[in-house]
């Protein structure tokens, strides 16, 4: 048993664990039971995260074979499906929090062979099935688990079932269920599950109820992705187009994932750091710590996953939707990663819009309800187009018409921006109170604020001769500070003239805005007639 610590390309340590046997073509493959990668020990039947190159997705799978052949280390992974990936086959059922589905049956998407280096981290999956052969987890186990599963998804006939076959992917099902070492409360309490398939639903309601009352810090931000997933099927007409696209897409992906070494190593380290505390108790503590410390990261990652899956199909679907354009009511729900405070601040907004304009991803929205905020706009775009964006509402000064709100929106890609502009302008996206959105691409030309100290301000007068006299500090201070003018000065009278002018301007703008308001109402009323 060689205990050589091999360093991979990215300096991550690796060494094999217990050997299992020799096999494969030409007897050149050496099978193993475990290995240690980057200080984390992985054993057969452990659940892991795998990242696909170029995607923020994390796939979850179970290691069912480990071997090395001609210097390549490989693992065979049996996949789990996330609810969003098999959404259309769930029917009315909304999946439990943290629920995933084990792949079963025969066909594409069941298992894959991957290079070992594709593994991004360990994942704690607990099986809550009431099957006799399954070691029943305690409620603590379930709470601490990253995911739970009790049902399988058959990749051959696309059905979901809670019946666990005897073998899945050629492996005895016992190995796929909870292992003693994985559970905190491994007390072998098999007696409970007397094939209680009928009572199963109740049991899960209890567990489910338990999830909800679990520590807020671990679940608070999970709610968002869960609700987003759960309520999206409500969207009326759009669904039709999703049917065909989604599963094909996801299974295709699974068939040829070119999972490579490339993955965000930061995220890996964070997960590893938590799970490298071998002992059970440490694992529990570190799991909690892991959640506290980087739930932001995880939430982003997980939410991004569900978002990305939608985004892939959205572009294709929304083009098809052009013709259909049903008068569908969309209730705007908060998009998955709505907590803006976690976003990296980045460039100041005015630089951002300049850059976006150059790349063609900037869109100006008009006739926005003035009470909407930036995150409302992002939600609206997300719900109407399934696209994410960053938006900023234009703040009102006294010059702006209070009947209308405007916002600048930056998209991730040029074609997204073009699509949105096209759709909004050709169609009619109504907000409440009959406000159709108006949009245009690009940046409004606005004179740059002149920051130079020599630029003059209309209304600030200087007497040239006096200016020359103001070399003395005192004189300079007199004008450069701010003060309330006293009535016995010339400036006072002039100031009064200005104040009069200001009042006049304000009054006329007010009047104009009222006229606008009346005109808007008139048009809306004409519709009701």
């Amino acid at each position: 048993m060689s205990q050589l610590v091999k360093l991979g390309n990215d300096g991550l340590s690796f060494h094999w664990g217990k050997k299992r046997g020799i096999g494969g073509t030409n007897k050149s493959a050496q099978f193993y039971e475990s290995f240690t990668f980057d200080n984390v020990e992985y054993c057969l039947y452990d659940c892991v995260y795998l990242f696909k190159k170029g995607e923020d997705d994390a796939y979850i799978g179970k290691i069912v074979k480990i071997w090395e052949q001609s210097d390549h280390k490989r693992v065979k992974i049996l996949w789990f499906f996330r609810p969003c990936e098999i959404q259309n086959y769930l029917g009315d059922y909304s999946p439990l929090e943290k629920e995933i589905f084990l792949a079963s049956g025969e066909g594409v998407g069941l298992t894959n062979v991957n290079p070992l280096e594709a593994i991004a981290g360990k994942c704690h999956v607990v099986c809550t099935s009431a099957d006799k052969r399954n070691l029943q987890p305690s409620s603590t186990d379930v709470e601490l688990a990253d995911y739970i599963f009790y049902r399988v998804f058959d990749v051959g006939n696309y059905t979901i079932s809670d019946v666990l076959a005897d073998t899945v992917a050629g492996i005895e099902v016992e190995f796929l269920l909870n292992q003693r070492k994985d559970l905190k409360s491994a007390s072998g309490s098999k007696g409970d599950a007397n094939g209680i398939f009928t009572g199963q639903k109740d049991a899960f309601d209890d567990l489910h109820g338990h999830f909800k009352s679990a520590s807020p810090k671990s679940l608070e931000n999970r709610d968002n992705p869960a609700t987003a997933i759960g309520s999206l099927p409500i969207n009326g007409g759009n669904e039709g187009n999703y049917d065909v696209e989604k599963p094909k897409h996801s299974t295709e992906d699974l068939a040829n994932p070119t999972l490579t070494d490339e993955r965000p190593s930061e995220k890996r380290r964070l997960i590893d750091e938590a799970s490298s505390g071998a002992s059970q108790k440490d694992k529990v503590d570190s799991c909690l710590r892991k959640r506290k410390v980087e739930h932001g990261e995880k939430e982003l990652k997980r939410a991004k996953l569900s978002h990305e899956t939608f985004q892939k199909t959205s572009l294709a679907c929304s083009v098809q939707n052009d013709e259909k354009a049903d008068s569908q009511n969309l209730e705007v729900i908060q998009r998955p990663y709505a907590d803006r405070s976690k976003w990296f601040k980045g460039l100041p907004w005015d630089l951002k819009i300049k850059k976006a304009h150059e790349v063609g991803t900037l869109v100006l929205l008009d006739n926005v309800d003035p009470s909407y905020t930036s995150s409302d706009i992002e939600d609206i775009i997300y719900n109407a187009f399934n696209l994410s964006c960053t938006a900023k509402v234009i703040p009102h000064s006294m010059f702006q018409d209070p009947n209308y709100g405007e916002a600048y929106v930056i998209f991730k890609a040029r074609d997204m921006a073009d699509l949105v502009v096209r759709k909004i302008n050709s169609g009619c996206l109504m907000q409440e109170n009959g406000r159709p959105l108006v949009c245009s691409k690009g940046l409004l030309k606005v004179p740059a604020p002149s920051k130079s100290s020599t630029s003059s301000f209309t209304g600030h007068l200087v007497i040239d001769k006096v200016r020359l006299q103001m070399q003395r500090d005192e004189m300079r201070k007199a004008v450069s500070t701010s003060h309330c003018s006293q009535p016995n000065t010339i400036e006072y009278e002039m100031a009064l003239e200005w104040m009069l002018a200001q009042e006049k301007s304000a009054a006329s703008l007010n009047l104009l805005n009222k006229v606008h308001d009346d005109e808007i109402r008139k048009v809306r009323r004409s519709f009701k007639a």
Binding site: Y372, P395, H396, M398, G459, L461, L509
Partner: protein
Amino acid sequence: MASASAPEKATQERLEKAYAAFQEKVKRTVYLDNISPQVNIPVIRTALGQFGNVVNVEFILNYTIPFDIPQCALVEMENEKEAAAVISEMKNFPFMILGMPRPARALPAKPEMFADRPSPPNRKIQLRWVKPSDPEFEVGKKLKQQVKRHRAETNAMIKLQLAEEEKLAKQQSEQLKTNYKKYEMIENIMQDGTAARLARYYGVNLGDD
């Protein structure tokens, strides 16, 4: 799924608190405009510092008006009373910042002036794609055109107002120049003794009583 569970309640409370805090902030913030481009944050702080404690100053940048408009700012005071004091003082007495005679203007702030405001919790936004065959589609079209027209009208009015301001400034500048000239003239005659001589000649007493 269960409704209003503990974690959801916590988020909800957080949102409500944030919104309430924002509303409170709006009450004690002053909207300031007619500000010269040379004015920056420290200047405003010192300027309004005499009315109370200035918590924060933020300029409202101009993104959409295609003219050179004076700067606008949001000044957050420590409490509502101070904000009200600023507004009433500046209403009754012309308050000049970094230049004369054009005074700055103060008004109570409104939520729409804040770009980064939170949305009211519990608000549900409804959105609708209207079919072209729906009669409301035509209304939508009309409204869209109206938006464009209204924007043009507002811009035209702003342009007009800016032109009037220029006129006023020019007029005042002229007035000031002539006044100053007169003053200088008087100063000169007083200084070089011409006034005194003339006074003696006419028998007028130039004394200050």
